[in-house]
Symmetry: C2
Subunit: 85 residues, 2 copies
């Protein structure tokens, strides 16, 4: 499962970059093919709300999408330089 | 770590409720106490954008927040009755 390796990586990188936000979405498929579109839309929405609260360098955002069995997962890994408030 | 048990539970419940969205936020602390506030605000923002795309029963949303070491995690587990689009 991809989301396990996602968090395994988190541990490795913790000592390198101390200020990070990681977001993981996992969606069980509805069988009508709408899950990938939904996850993609939620990714945009969530990145937008995060941008309202933090200064995010686009180059500091790493995305990883995985489809495995009935589950679609999206990992968003953001390095945070500073908060806005 | 709490987020591991979060996903362990996911596997157990997969056969019970097939249409779910799970969102996990993990934030490494900034040392100024702002992480809990930030995670709480992001939770509200993210639930709002999810509600724009799906009909969510408030009773079908389960939240779990955990602080462990330098990491604050928030798990949002949503049962989805149907999509809006």
């Amino acid at each position: 499962m991809n989301f396990m390796s996602f968090f395994a990586r988190r541990g490795e990188s913790a000592s390198v970059a101390k200020n990070r936000l990681q977001i993981l979405l996992a969606h069980e498929r509805m069988g009508d093919g709408s899950d990938a579109k939904l996850i993609s839309e939620l990714r945009e929405d969530i990145l937008e709300v995060v941008r309202k609260r933090m200064n995010i360098d686009p180059d500091a955002v790493r995305l990883e999408m995985d489809r495995s069995g009935d589950i679609t997962t999206l990992g968003i890994d953001i390095e945070l330089p500073q908060t806005k408030n």
